[in-house]
């Protein structure tokens, strides 16, 4: 997942990095194909070099020391709303075929079965970044026909919905799971590649919506040894990368 996430960052882009796995994807991208990417962190940090040590949160001292800008949340969110942010990462508890994400509550918002933490900056990134990169564990209960609550708007009910809703741009570009990579085409997720050793049948069984498969379906490119070594060097204990995430 981390290797594929890193590939989604293009050189020179401004990226809302968020936390957990995307932090490591940013490190990988910077050290491989995207040395001029800029990392933006919604608490108010802008970095042109990744932090030199494993981060547990974006507010760890190591992510602040050596930053080129310590700012306010509103400054970075302003850049996002203004259209200055090329891509952003988010995860979620649930996603639907149009990329709408739920991180708020399973069940009814008033009387939830499972209360989740909420949006954080996720809904803003989903609303305003040019391109949204979603990372999630692959599970039939997470990849659902319809989510219980739309925290972060994806493509709504499909093509053209974002424009009708008033969103200025963007929407999910890719969904990277523990099993596969989906690309959003005309507002709907299409299976683009299956991770090595994963069958389409297994993906279909673990996906809560009727699977659309790209004509040019391929195997997800495995991480190079260089990338693996960057990941293991950065997270030697596997705190973020060993949890099956």
């Amino acid at each position: 997942m981390v290797a594929q996430a890193a590939r989604e960052i293009r050189d020179g882009e401004r990226v809302f990095v968020g936390m957990r796995l995307p932090l490591i994807a940013f490190v990988v991208a910077k050290r491989t194909h995207a040395p001029n990417a800029i990392g933006l962190f919604e608490l108010g940090v802008v970095r042109d070099e990744p932090a030199p040590e494993l981060l547990y949160t974006m507010g760890d001292n190591a992510n602040v020391a050596g930053a080129v800008w310590c700012a306010r949340t509103i400054d970075l969110m302003g850049m996002l709303q203004r259209g200055d942010v090329h891509a952003g990462f988010i995860g979620g508890a649930e996603i639907d075929v149009h990329g709408n994400l739920n991180t708020t509550a399973i069940g009814d918002r008033g009387h939830p079965k499972v209360q989740l933490p909420g949006s954080g900056g996720g809904a803003d990134i989903a609303s305003l970044a040019h391109r949204l990169i979603v990372i999630m564990p692959h599970d039939r209960r997470r990849l659902r026909e319809k989510v219980d609550f739309v925290t972060s708007p994806g493509h709504g009910d499909g093509r053209g919905w974002r424009k009708r809703a008033g969103l200025p741009r963007g929407g999910p570009s890719v969904l990277i799971t523990t099993l596969a990579v989906f690309r959003f085409v005309d507002g709907s997720a299409v299976l683009e590649s299956a991770h090595p050793g994963v069958s389409v049948e297994r993906i279909r069984n673990e996906t809560g919506w009727p699977l659309a498969v790209a004509a040019a379906l391929r195997e997800t490119e495995p991480p190079s040894t260089e990338v693996l070594s960057i990941i293991r060097g950065y997270d030697p204990q596997g705190f973020w990368t060993r949890r099956g995430e």
Binding site: D60, I74, M77, K113, P117, G118, D124, S127, V150
Partner: protein, 301 residues
């Protein structure tokens, strides 16, 4: 100027009544004034309205301790460990009491506090259009931009009764220097009716005045100054001490049940008289987190 320096106990007693709306944890993951949250719990404050973007586990502790009636936040959880158990219990089972949540995103709460700081009634945004958050929040309004006709969401101002911010240093009048990311701290401090500054170090006015660009809030907006070293543990304070990741993970494991939560609060809050005793209880663990900072000094350019 008369000194505004007081103890955490007095600051909470005098400036945070039951039912107050209170902003804290406004720098997101760093500089969360846990010492302030713990004093609210010790003084058994009730019916608070908590305001803040992330708060890491501070809101969870206050909710679990029964201090809270309303939460306006973008995220309530445990950043490096996962879900917040006390928040889940309150929302899923009404334990220890039901709470009302006004859902926000980080941008919407930043805009609400900025509107409060600017004395503006609201800020207009394109964020969250098509999200279910506006419906769940209940205080936003849909509108169309009179200039372009585009859809907009209007985020009404939030003006906390009290904002508590933790900083590296302040003078006795409350002129406060914070370095590291500011999150929504400045907006929250300027929007509030009363601002409490919690300083790791009290310095001479001349140190503040040597670098007024670093001032996050001027003394004239500050109600009380608390000199409380280590007030943010287990969250970090840039240049002073690092985040105690393990403490967050231990809290996560310990508070899965109501009994576990109660025991944790007893151990780390109720049976600890103040932050000094809390740091003493941490012992060598606390010493290992401290950064070798450079003492406060006049800025030279």
């Amino acid at each position: 100027m008369t000194s505004k320096v007081t103890t955490m106990r007095d600051a909470v007693t005098k400036h945070v009544p039951d039912g107050a709306s209170v902003a804290l944890g406004c720098a997101l993951e760093p500089a969360i004034p846990f010492a302030f949250a713990h004093e609210l719990i010790r003084q058994r404050r009730r019916d608070l309205h908590l305001i803040g973007p992330i708060s890491d586990i501070a809101f969870d502790q206050l909710i679990g301790a029964g201090c809270v009636a309303v939460v306006s936040a973008a995220w309530v959880g445990n950043v490096s460990a996962g879900l917040a158990h006390a928040y889940r219990r309150a929302m899923e089972q009404g334990i220890p009491r039901p709470i009302e949540v006004r859902d926000h995103s980080n941008f919407s709460i930043a805009q609400a506090l900025l509107a409060g700081a600017l004395g503006a009634p609201y800020l207009p945004t394109r964020s969250l259009l098509g999200s279910d958050i506006p419906r769940a929040n209940g205080t936003f309004r849909e509108a169309s931009d009179p200039f372009s006709g585009d859809a907009l969401l209007l985020i009404p101002a939030i003006t906390p009764d009290v904002t508590a911010i933790a900083v590296q240093r302040a003078d006795e009048d409350g002129n406060a220097h914070l370095w590291g990311p500011w999150g929504v701290s400045q907006e929250a401090a300027l929007a509030a009716r009363a601002t409490i500054v919690i300083a790791d170090e009290i310095v001479a006015r001349s140190v503040i005045a040597s670098d007024p660009n670093r001032t996050i809030v001027p003394g004239t907006k500050v109600t009380a100054v608390v000199h409380e070293p280590g007030a943010c543990h287990p969250s970090p304070l840039q240049g002073r001490y690092r985040r105690d990741h393990e403490f967050f993970h231990q809290y996560h494991a310990a508070t899965r049940t109501p009994e576990g939560f109660a025991a944790w609060i007893r151990e780390w809050v109720s049976e600890v008289s103040d932050r000094r005793a809390y740091l003493a209880k941490l012992g060598a663990r606390w010493g290992a987190l401290r950064d070798d900072g450079v003492p406060a000094a006049l800025a030279l350019f």
